[in-house]
């Protein structure tokens, strides 16, 4: 028992030793891990790793180390058996027999040995010999691991920096390449529009690059582009490049004053090469109109005062302008005397009063004839001039002339034949002009805003009204009788081409329009209606020639003969029309009423037929007043045939002549036709040919010219430019611009004249193939008959 006690005592001491050894170990481990942690953290920080990441790495390293350490063999092997072996090896006195303490049933010899070693063991225990051979606290492994971690982190950092540097180099190269490949694009735009000061219209800003501005406006663009490594330019209609100015924030700006409708685009310059950006933008310039003057009083153009009549009269004029009237003058010219002794004296006056109304300013002045230093028998001609406030150069408007005549108790003489005083002032539209502008308005409807369209329509309505009043005066309507022979017909007829039913092509033939207008009124009345025969204004078939009627013939035959014999007498003598001019003019005025009504209601399509009719009646009136007179005087005898063609021919140099009829190359119709053909030939896949380019350039030029008077056309000019830029009709952000352009070209084209051409067989079965077919059938029939006959 005592031996077992000894063994147990030794074992318990061994356990104490084991604990102590283990304690030493994990103290070492912990200290080592701390060192590792510190080393890793410090190294990471030095290597410019993220601090948190570094701490994480350090903590991870420490944790791994601890984990490995506690599970390492060195730690796990600290147990009784290994401790006993360790003691046996380091203390020879135990004579390699300390493991006898594990033997629970020792032999007597083992007991003796056990007693022996227990004494030594106790003595060593008291002396502390065992502690000296236990594993000591050491940080050796910690240091070595720390060194390893330091090396790893440092190497990682080094290589990382190296790789980063290379990456930076290559990425910087790549980013340079990306910049180069980036397309040139307009990213953002802002346009500031400053109208001329005199208009008192405030400035505005917009981002839309298609502009509608007042004449003389200053425009400033502020733009940003996708690339900053180029120079940018602004190109106007003339194609001249104006450099944009770069601002510190990288944006680009350009400012210019605009006076003409046109289009513009942007371009960039890289490597000394200027390339256009694809988009083309339009600038529509709204011109300042000249002042409009309408003389309200006196109403008639000729006012006569009898000798003893009161000599005071008042002039009232309605004057309006877009932006303001600066000056209004009355220019009077007093004519004294008669015949070759006439003297003229010019004077200038101002109005006495002016009053602002809704329709404009009303100016008034009261005059007396003596004040004008006139005497009975004198005349004064005056007209009104008004200047607007346009800068830098004002515009003058001029009214019609008014004649004041102070009679001298003589009969009113008819004015001398052949004298025509042009009473039509500059702005006065003729009937032809009204028709042309109405057609243009109809054609441009899609391109104009609603307000703009209605304004223009009403403007035309006013013009029609003015014209109607002038003719009314001539005809002596409710205003009063008055001679008007001195006034020319303001129908706009210049003896040349007729007003073609052109551009609007709302030029429905007038006969159809007569139908439609009649049926239109019927439809408004509702109910099922039948067609009604409309009355054409053609001369009736068979009309009575009173001079041919034989009064003695009671049967009525002579009247019939007179009606249908159609004897107009000599063609060279007689009026061309059976109606007198005034009748035609009255009919024209009647049509003008209707035209004016529809124009005022912004219905130019409905007004157009009436305008045409009025124009036709005015033409007929003009022709009605012509009388063709047979040539009188010497009538040479007819040439006898045997004497004919016997003249001398020695002065004829050549009997043959060859000429080439060349029409002007810039004929508008040809340009439009060629442009139309080129546009429709250029498909999305096929590029424009050189010839097509030439045609489109000519078309673009034409449209620019036309847009001066019709700003609505500028958008189509821009479309043509875009086609030229792209080289085909595959335009970006176009919508249906090509289709609209085609439609506009169609509208611009005048009606074609019929051309001489030989007959061409129709695509139907023509007579030759038909005859051949019939012959073939006959042959078949005959052969069939022969076959049947044989059978």
């Amino acid at each position: 028992m005592a031996d077992l006690d000894n063994a147990n005592s030794i074992l318990s001491d061994i356990d104490v030793l084991i604990k102590e050894a283990k304690k030493n170990k994990w103290i070492s481990f912990v200290f080592s891990s701390i060192i590792i942690f510190i080393t890793a953290a410090a190294t990471s920080w030095i290597a410019s790793f993220d601090l948190a990441f570094g701490i994480f790495i350090a903590a991870l390293a420490s944790a791994v180390f601890l984990f490995i350490s506690f599970y390492s063999y060195a730690y796990r092997s600290i147990n009784r058996i290994n401790m006993v072996d360790h003691l046996n090896r380091h203390i020879p006195e135990y004579e390699e027999s300390l493991q006898l303490v594990f033997n629970r049933k020792p032999t007597p010899l083992q007991l003796i040995q056990l007693q022996k070693i227990s004494t030594i063991f106790n003595a060593n225990t008291e002396s502390g010999a065992h502690q000296s051979i236990l594993p000591k606290f050491t940080i050796r492994f910690g240091l070595s691991y720390s060194l390893a971690i330091f090396a790893v982190i440092a190497a990682t950092s080094f290589f990382s920096n190296y790789l980063d540097r290379n990456d930076n180099l290559s990425s910087s190269k790549n980013s340079d390449t990306t910049v180069e490949n980036k397309p040139f694009e307009l990213l953002d735009s802002k346009v500031s529009i400053q109208p001329p000061g005199y208009t008192r219209v405030p400035s505005s800003n917009q981002s839309d690059l298609n502009l509608e501005v007042l004449d003389g406006s200053k425009i400033e663009w502020l733009l940003s582009f996708s690339r900053s490594d180029a120079e940018y330019f602004w190109l106007g209609t003339d194609g001249v490049a104006h450099a944009l100015t770069q601002k510190p924030d990288g944006s680009w700006s350009y400012a210019v004053e605009i006076n003409e409708t046109g289009f513009y685009r942007f371009a960039y310059k890289v490597n000394d090469r200027i390339a256009n950006l694809p988009e083309v933008y339009t600038i529509e310039v709204v011109k300042d109109r000249i002042p409009k003057i309408k003389i309200q009083e006196p109403v008639r153009s000729l006012v006569e005062f009898a000798k003893n009549d009161p000599t005071q009269f008042t002039i009232t004029a309605l004057i309006n302008d877009d932006y303001g009237i600066e000056q209004v003058d009355i220019l009077a010219s007093v004519a004294k005397g008669s015949g070759e002794a006439v003297k003229f004296r010019d004077k200038q006056f101002k109005f006495d009063t002016n009053e602002a109304t809704e329709k404009g300013a009303v100016y008034a002045k009261t005059w007396s004839l003596p004040e004008l230093e006139m005497e009975p028998g004198d005349e004064v001609y005056f007209h009104i001039k008004a200047k607007d406030n346009k800068q830098p150069r004002a515009q003058w408007g001029k009214s019609s002339s008014i004649i004041i005549r102070w009679l001298d108790n003589k009969v009113v003489e008819t004015t001398a034949e052949g004298i025509q005083i042009r009473f039509i002032p500059e702005y006065f539209r003729s009937q032809r002009q009204i028709i042309i502008e109405t057609e243009q308005l109809i054609a441009d409807r899609a391109d104009l805003s609603k307000d703009n369209f209605e304004d223009k329509s009403r403007d035309l309505g006013h013009s029609q009204s003015d014209l109607k009043e002038k003719y009314g005066q001539y005809l002596g309507d409710e205003i009063g009788e008055g001679p008007g022979e001195q006034f020319g017909l303001a129908d706009g007829y210049h003896g040349g081409e007729d007003v073609v039913h052109g551009e609007a092509s709302a030029g429905i033939e007038q006969s159809e329009h007569e139908d439609s207008e009649h049926h239109g009124s019927e439809r408004e009345n509702g109910g099922a209606e039948q067609h009604e025969e409309h009355v054409d204004e053609k001369p009736e078939v068979g009309h009575l020639h009173q001079e041919m009627v034989d009064d003695s013939d009671k049967s009525g035959a002579s009247e019939l003969i007179a009606r249908f014999a159609h004897n107009h007498g000599s063609v060279e003598v007689g009026a061309l029309s059976k109606r007198d001019p005034k009748t035609w003019m009255k009919m024209a005025v009647h049509e003008m009423w209707q035209a004016e009504l529809h124009l005022m209601l912004s219905e130019p399509e409905k007004a157009l037929p009436f305008e045409y009719k009025a124009y036709d009646y005015l033409k007929l009136a003009r022709q009605a007043e012509r009388i063709y007179v047979k040539r009188l005087g010497f009538e040479p005898p007819p040439v006898k045939e045997d004497r004919r063609l016997t003249g001398e021919l020695d002065k004829i140099l050549s009997y043959s002549l060859s000429i080439t009829d060349k029409r002007e190359a810039d004929n508008q119709n040809d340009i439009i036709q060629n442009g139309f053909t080129s546009i429709n030939r250029a498909t999305s896949k096929k590029l424009l040919s050189k010839e097509d380019r030439e045609h489109l350039k000519a078309l673009s030029k034409l449209m620019l010219q036309l847009s001066e008077t019709r700003p609505a056309l500028i958008s189509h000019a821009a479309t043509v430019e875009k086609i030229l830029t792209f080289g085909n009709t595959r335009l970006t952000a176009c919508g249906n611009c090509i289709e609209k352009l085609n439609q506009k070209l169609w509208q611009l084209m005048s009606n074609p004249v019929s051309r001489p051409s030989p007959i061409v067989l129709d695509s139907e079965l023509g007579p030759e193939p038909m005859n051949s077919y019939i012959n073939l059938i006959r042959q078949i029939d005959q052969s069939e008959a022969i076959r049947i006959g044989k059978e």
Binding site: A506, D515, R523, S656, L657, V753, V760
Partner: protein, 654 residues
Amino acid sequence: MSDIFFTIGNMAFAKPQLVHWLALLFVIVALMISCRAALERLSKQNRRKWLLIGLNLIAFIAISGFIFKPLWKSTEGQVVTLITASFSELKDPLKNQPDFLWYKPTNQQVEEFQINPEQIILAPEQLNLRFSKIDKLIVRGDGLNADEWQSINAGKIEYSSPQVIPGFVNPQWRNQVNIGDFFSVSGEVSFSLLSKSSHPEVKSKTDKSTVSKNRLVKSKILKVELIDPAGQVVAANDVLDGEYFELEHRPKLLGNHIYNIELSRLVKNVKEIIATEKIGVSVVKQIGLNLLILQSSPSFETKQLQNWAAENGARILVKSQISKDRFITRKINFDDLKQNDLSRELFEKMDLVLADSRALVLLNSATSETLLEAVKNGLGLMVLADYSQMEKAHTSHWLQDKFNLVNDESHDSAQVYWSNDNAGLRSQSNLFLPRVKAKFNKSSKIQPMAFSSEGEALVSSVELGKGKIAQSLVRETARWVTRGERAIYSHYWQSLIRQISRRAIKIQIDLFGVKSILSENQRVRVCINDIDSSSLSISSSTNVQRILLQASKSNSRSNCGVFWPQAGWSTILHKDEKDNVISHSFYSASTNQWKTQRQYSRMNASLDKVESNSQLATLSKPGFLPISLWWFWWIFISCASLLWIEKKLFDESS
């Protein structure tokens, strides 16, 4: 139809399958159980007992019918129903039966009516392939066109016309015009308002007019408008339903253009568009005219004509007599012409000779013979009349012989009427022009071309061989020009020139079988009068195809081929041996367009077929029609409901 296995009376049964027998067995067992339960429960109530047994038996029969689907004998033989286009209301209980077929249904119809693919036929021939003998064919919808009807063989035909699609029928227009020519479109308006409840059926032997006499709720004035490619109305007509209309316009630009023709009406002052159709017109450059002017003295009239013709591409040779045997010759745009003298070679190069009477009567006989010979070979000759041919010295001249002018002092001016191509006679000017105081003696050979307002011929022509000679009494047409009516002047002369001048002999591409509407996938025959040409190419927006040509059997000078165009514009191109390209463009309408016309032609063809097909078919064998299963179902439900009600109401234990 499945094989008939068993018939009993007018009823027939198809061969049942095993599952049918099993189902029947099950139903019999159920019947027995139900009857037994009824017998036990109502042993003392005979009436109710037998009522219940009766209901059970009826339910049994209903379920058996549901299982075996019996057929009923038809007295009409084999009846087939064919649904065609525009059919919209499907009330027929036969829709799921195999004899109910759809002809080219749209995708929408397939989805809406859930059409079984086996009931669809794509060609009329398939009808007779499926049914070897059709005793009665019921056609609903638009019907079939004449070609399709030819492929169908049926006994009695019953046709029900559909709701009329309002629009245009019988449209006609020229597909190709020269620039400056009038393009005219004509047709009829078809617009009938039907009350919703009426669908008049047309039986066989019905008058064709029955269909057109649909009950009119109200007739109103309609408007037909021609809209140019720019979207503007260029011509309009007010018409009534069924009325003929004609509109014309002169296209402004060369190229291929689409016009729209629109039918509308005013409803409470608001325009309601009823139908819109597209019309494709190809405007081509006119062939240049080779004109020879022979004048005994220069005149303002010929000068104006020269100006107009030269400005518009004509090549002109003017010979003005300056002495008895000398002419001054002036060539305009005719540099390549070598001949100057009036020889056969010169005449062969010309399309038209314009001469005054005096110049002609003064020609020597040899030249006159040469000229007449040239006219016989196709040359046109236009003579501006004067009094020369009526002089005694020239009364035997061939010119007087042909036209026989006599003095007529009664008229010295006239308003001129001439044919405006399609539109008949009209005068566009109210100006009276001077005329020669003479008239044409009436002769059957003389054809008038222009008239005075009294109907007297002012310009007349006679045919001579292949050519024509015309003489005009009208003088000073140039007054139209000075008056500002240049368009009228050009139209007048163009109209005369087209009628008189030599027919252009050129390589020409003709489309046959096409009056106006050319549809996509329609068979079109194309011929070209160039026997050396073996193929043509047709290009459309999507592809180019080549057509092989063969010698035409009806015209030995033409080669022809067949093609099926795609919708939209296509161009036929031909290159001759000199590399000259000749093209002919045409527009093909898609199947969505011209629905009214398609319906109209199908309806008419169907009505014709109905009328012609008057004989009744003799039955070759009895036909059987399936009985609707709904009957059996409702009978079973009714019986089961009554049984349940009886149990609930009268059974004390329930």
